[in-house]
Amino acid sequence: MSHRIRAIVYVASAIVTFATLMYAAMGLPKFGTFSGAYSAMLLQISTLERHVYNVPTAVNFDYRGFDTLGEEFIFFTSVAGVLFIFSAVRGKAEKHGEPMEHEGDRRQSGAIRWFPTGLTAFIAALGMDLGAHGQLTPGGGFQGGAIFGSAIACIYLGVGIHAFIRTAKKETFDMLEALGAFAFGALGVAAMWITGAFLRNIMPLGQTGATVSGGTIYFLSCAVFVEIACGFTVLLLVFLKQTGQTQEGEQ
């Protein structure tokens, strides 16, 4: 099918799809007027019942914790998939030892070298702050982890691939990621063991507004933080490693 015919067929069907979707939107609540019964209830009870200020975090790690378990394993499986896809090629390259040092590793100096490295510390601290106070302020394991993982990759921008590989040991981060995923499941199973319900909040809830509060919510958030942070670091590491082996890989 040529491009032009394909475009005509698609545009015709897209107009119908768009019209149908807009017709369906007429049945949705008008913009700015929605209020669901479930969410109204959660907004009322979550601070009293779970001692948290940030309701989405309470939903993620407590009320709908089982959904998060599913999301978490999608994440885990995708990272494993990426590692698996690259391992076929990397197995060959690693026989020559570590990827060769980038020319950039030595040439850069001064501000170019130290500014991104300093930024790493700052962004990593921000990520940890977001991850650790998910029950009080906007943030939580998912966002904090993504920001922390990205911060580690800033080392690459500043110093180069060699330093990045030395800093982020793949095996260590891989293991920590698995540990994070395991901790989430283990907390759920422990709750089932003690109370008979999977992922029930079993920890003491603590003072509302304290750093460690919300019971299991805090610990699940930390487990997710470790998993996402290490998963992102490993992901960016294997991608950026590809840039170091242009010569060996292509022959």
Partner: protein, 78 residues
């Protein structure tokens, strides 16, 4: 619906179309990054700071970096 919201919605719609219609992948990547940033701003304006934080980390750093590496590795030299 405030003016800020209308502006951001229009920007997101235009940038989304620009991502699709840009021909060279490297240009597309930069437009995509801008699109991600506008999306994050829109999420903040819609009272969803949690979602905005996720989108900033993912849409403006992690995904563009990985796409950049893929572009580098699949340079077709044409």
């Amino acid at each position: 619906m405030s003016l800020l919201q209308i502006i951001l919605y229009v920007l997101v719609a235009v940038l989304g179309a620009a991502v699709v219609f840009s021909k060279r992948p490297i240009n597309q990547l930069f437009i995509y990054t801008t699109f991600g940033m506008m999306l994050a701003l829109l999420f903040f304006v819609l009272h969803a700071p949690d979602v905005g934080l996720s989108e900033i980390a993912v849409g403006t750093f992690a995904v563009p970096l990985m796409v950049l590496v893929t572009l580098m590795k699949t340079d077709t030299k044409t």
